[in-house]
Symmetry: C2
Subunit: 314 residues, 2 copies
């Protein structure tokens, strides 16, 4: 009884990996299409677990999944990519099937936990992780422990209101930082400016990608540049808030949009310095890229299961 | 060696109290004017401590003080009411003078800690305390531990930007919740409306008090009512953010402005319900008045010293 299985449930793929104690290199790994829109996701997940299963050797399973979910009951509440999983008791069902404890939390929390335990945030007691991609998600470590909250819905950092009259967020509320600085927010802004007649090499298209806009910006397109400047400006306001609220020693940025680099982070840093409540928050503050790449969720789920086992033994 | 001395440093008074183990009723208490603008505050503080001192009986001192301060070095950085205390190593100096460990943190953190240990927040693992008075201050408990942050400057909840184009805050930044919903923000708004020609029974006066405005509101003055509606509206936006960020099981409100009651809290609750990211955050959420009144800082300082002693023994 020494292996831990970690599961990362993504929109397109489910990954399962088996880890020996003290190791972050899997001894077995299975990647399968989640085909989330097709019924039977749970059965395919069970098959993937069986493919790496070793009888009598597995002590726990950890899972990173898109939310919203309840980590305390292990229930997926209503995850947009898997329509069959409404109030779906994923952890209890897997636990019943495989006879080991199963721990579950959302993908952003797990990426933050993974970066803290194994990645860019090692050794930091107070960490803020932000993933900037289709949405903006957060994972927060306070006093060496994961912020989950009373309902397990803490650290929803993308849904902080920074302007009550701001754009509509995907969640239906107005002015969340996600509505300014996520990938779709950048694409929407570009399309709005094109429709308003701004000159650009880009063509109006709701399916533009942030990467295409980044390419145009790098080629000197002023509209594309201004779109990232705007996203970075608002991101600086949001992070100024996170500093006043959490006072972390490290900020870790993950997610596809954060990979555009200086296009986003130069205006971000200028805005952060302008908006931070007190310059002392920036003293010795580390600002870092995520180190774990696509493995962040898997390694976070591994960390979640290990921490839960060690606290239940302690 | 069993007594703990707690000190609460306010703008007008310094209070010192001595507590036996497991008790929150002081066996000795000294209240002295801080006369903070007059030199010699530290000497008066030492005298107050001496007046309750019992040789060989005191194991530690805890202090609640206005910030900004560094709780890790026990240094007051630059507190507005006591001009002599710039980068003043208050805890080390008292520790040297009295030969016991001295623990220091800011008054809002200490009020939150006090409410959690002894007041409205007992038994809650995730708590957000807000004091609404001259400023807006916060104290936060995450996973049964006080959020202090890397520099000891966490939980500055009043300085969260909720509108980058909002009013100037006392700190010089724009659009902090403190600039919308603190006492001076309410007074300023009333004066602006009077100067703009709005009808009211109140007279333009920068020295109006929130209590005077509350009296006018209770007597039916529409401008006074709208001033609290506005403050409550923005407070609801800020607290929606704190719920998404911390997902606490209890919100505790302290400070003079919060004592106006429904004038502020009815519009606050309507705004919170409108702006909260997901209604699930409100399930079983307790919203409570602070229970410790003027003793919150003193009892928080007591809790700080007790927790520090027990963790250094543990």
């Amino acid at each position: 009884m020494s292996l831990i299985l970690a599961i990362d449930i993504g929109g397109t793929h489910i990954r399962v990996a088996a880890y020996e104690p003290d190791s972050t290199k899997p001894i077995a790994h299975k990647r399968t299409k989640s085909l989330a829109q097709t019924p039977g996701v749970f059965d395919r997940l069970v098959e993937a677990v069986e493919s790496v299963w070793q009888d009598g050797q597995v002590s726990a399973i950890g899972i990173a999944s898109p939310g919203p979910l309840d980590p305390y009951t292990g229930t997926i509440l209503d995850t947009p990519n898997i329509p069959q999983w409404k109030n779906f008791p994923l952890a209890p069902k897997l636990s019943e099937r495989f006879g080991v404890p199963v721990y579950l939390d959302n993908d952003a929390n797990m990426a933050g936990l993974g970066e803290w335990q194994f990645g860019a945030g090692r050794g930091h007691s107070n960490l803020v992780y932000l993933t900037i991609s289709t949405g903006i998600g957060g994972g927060v470590i306070v006093n060496d422990s994961l912020l989950q909250g009373f309902h397990g819905m803490g650290a929803e950092l993308g849904h902080m209101i920074i302007d009550p009259d701001g754009p509509l967020c995907g969640c239906g509320h107005r002015g969340h930082i996600e509505s300014f600085s996520s990938g779709p927010a950048i694409v929407r802004y570009v399309n709005e400016l094109i429709h308003a007649g701004e000159k650009t090499t880009l063509h109006a298209d709701p399916n533009l990608s942030p990467a295409q806009i980044a390419d145009a910006a790098l080629a000197g397109d002023p509209l594309a540049i201004s779109a990232f400047e705007r996203a970075g400006h608002y991101l600086g306001i949001a992070v100024a808030n996170y500093l006043a609220i959490f006072d972390p020693s490290i900020l870790v940025f993950g997610g596809g949009v954060s990979q555009v680099g200086d296009l986003l982070f130069k205006p971000f840093e200028a805005s952060l310095r302008k908006h931070v409540f007190h310059p002392h928050y920036m003293d010795d503050l580390t600002i870092s890229k995520a180190a774990l790449g696509d493995d962040a969720g898997l390694l976070g789920a591994l960390a979640l299961a290990r921490l839960a086992l060690s606290s239940s033994k302690g």
